[in-house]
């Protein structure tokens, strides 16, 4: 029997509410099938399953909210019978009960094991700012899992719990709270260093204009896609910028899945992933990016897009900024920023010319890489953009 647990939905998103099931007991599922739609503070998310089998039991009911990691359904493995699964479930439940010991309330609701907190039982440290905010909101500060020093409860923890408990007045407020918690955590935990480089885009612009000239609007490719592809290809040579820092250690990601920062009209930001961007053609990337933007703005994304990004890329050129100095989205370890592509005086071969130029920046986690590595990565990217036909 397979237990299907609510998958991770990204940093700072600890729980979700089930909106509807897309499958029924008896349906067969394969890897990548969407089995449920859940709601989080940032988006409605289509939850994908990565197992194969037959749906046995839907444990969670629509309308219920549970933490990430909770078992929400069970499946029969190919060839397993329903009787066998029911028997296994009974044994699992009995074993879990024996381990847990007597529960005072007699509750048998599924829940994740409590997060380990360094503070001794009965003496949870709460920061003064957190205590004040908790009082304002009518929340018990000592009952919150702390992410501050020595497991103490800090302001962001109170805000996070408040956001989870609040009836979502509107998605914008909830999204803003989630972003606030993630960004505060990032600046608190990640020692950022920043590098920038000016990249001439004369060759890339001419190549792109020629390519788009003969094509209908529906088949055009934007410069942003070339920039994205260059980032993805450069990461192949610099994998220490592509992965996650968790529990005091860095782990390289097995694939390159850049999260593309998309601004939500009227406020808000989300950065869902385009998977294996290094292996896709420019046309494929353009199509996927267009689709992703549309769905992000309609608050309709897939769980693998939300939880999957291995690095974030943000492009603020259209808003006219020259340079982006971004905030890394934990547990990622880097963020690449692009400013506006503008015509600038540029010296080439000792001659003064005019060239379209973009300033690319890297924000990176100094626990994982040093400036030297970051500089090599930016240089690699700049080089790739001088040969657009090879992107």
């Amino acid at each position: 029997m397979i237990e299907f647990k609510l998958p991770s939905l990204g940093a700072e998103m600890d729980e979700a509410k089930l909106i509807e099931w897309k499958v029924r007991p008896g349906d067969t599922v394969k890897k990548g099938d969407i089995v449920a739609v859940v709601d989080t503070s940032k988006s409605a998310i289509d939850v994908e399953i990565w197992e194969e089998g037959t749906i046995h039991e839907l444990v969670l009911a629509p309308g219920e909210t549970v933490p990430v990691g909770t078992v929400i359904a069970t499946l029969l493995e190919p060839g397993e019978t329903a009787e066998h699964a029911t028997e296994e479930a009974r044994r699992n439940a009995a074993r879990a009960k024996a381990l847990a010991g007597p529960t005072p309330t007699g509750s048998t609701a599924p829940s994740t094991p409590p997060q380990p907190v360094a503070a001794a039982a009965g003496h949870v440290r709460v920061s003064p700012a957190a205590r004040r905010r908790a009082q304002e909101l009518g929340i018990d500060g000592t009952a919150i899992t702390g992410t501050g020093p020595q497991g103490s409860v800090v302001l962001e923890d109170v805000e996070r719990v408040a956001a989870m408990q609040a009836q979502p007045k509107d998605r914008a407020t909830e999204m803003r709270r989630t972003i606030a918690a993630a960004m505060a955590r990032s600046k608190r935990e990640i020692p950022h260093y920043y590098l920038a480089t000016a990249i001439p885009l004369g060759a890339a612009s001419r190549w792109l204009a020629a390519r788009n000239e003969g094509r209908l609007v529906t088949e055009r490719v934007l410069m942003a896609v070339l920039l994205l592809k260059a980032v993805a290809l450069a990461l192949r040579k610099h994998p220490d910028l592509n992965g996650f820092y968790r529990d005091g250690a860095f782990q390289r990601a097995s694939g390159i899945h850049p999260g593309v920062a998309i601004s939500i009209r009227q406020g808000g930001l989300i950065a869902p992933a385009i998977h294996d961007a290094d292996r896709k053609t420019l046309d494929e990337l353009m199509r996927q990016l267009t689709d992703l933007v549309a769905r992000a703005r309609a608050f309709s994304l897939r769980s693998s897009e939300i939880a999957g990004p291995t690095i974030t890329v943000t492009n603020l050129g259209d808003q006219g900024v020259e340079l982006v100095q971004g905030v890394i989205y934990p547990p990622q370890v880097a963020l690449v920023g692009f400013g506006k592509v503008s015509e600038r005086p540029w010296v080439q071969g000792g001659q003064l010319t005019v060239s379209p130029v973009v300033t690319a920046s890297l924000a990176a986690d100094h626990r994982v890489t040093d400036g030297h590595r970051g500089a090599l990565f930016l240089d690699e990217m700049a080089g790739l953009l001088q040969e657009p036909d090879r992107l």
Partner: protein, 83 residues
């Protein structure tokens, strides 16, 4: 095609990209991309909608001509008339 129909198509295309905007509130003679927050992806999607509605394909070389709503409507009228 007359100007009113073209204008209606433009407004409908704009509303599908920027639903929070009332196109009749946009000044006809000011750069409309200042009035409506459109990035390059939004602008391309806007042109795709226009293509769906009016059958006019706007080449990249002509983007610079489309500054105000008046510019856009005149351009589309000329393209439709010459078909």
């Amino acid at each position: 095609m007359d100007e009113t129909t073209i204008r209606a198509a433009v407004f409908a295309a704009l509303r599908s990209i920027a639903p929070e905007v009332s196109p009749d509130q946009i000044p006809d003679d000011k750069p409309f991309r200042d009035e409506v927050d459109l990035d390059s992806m939004d602008f391309l999607n806007f042109l795709i909608r226009l293509h769906e509605k009016l059958g006019v394909n706007v080449p990249e070389a002509d983007y610079a001509k489309l500054v105000t709503l008046n510019d856009l409507v005149s351009y589309l009228r000329a393209r439709l008339a010459s078909r």
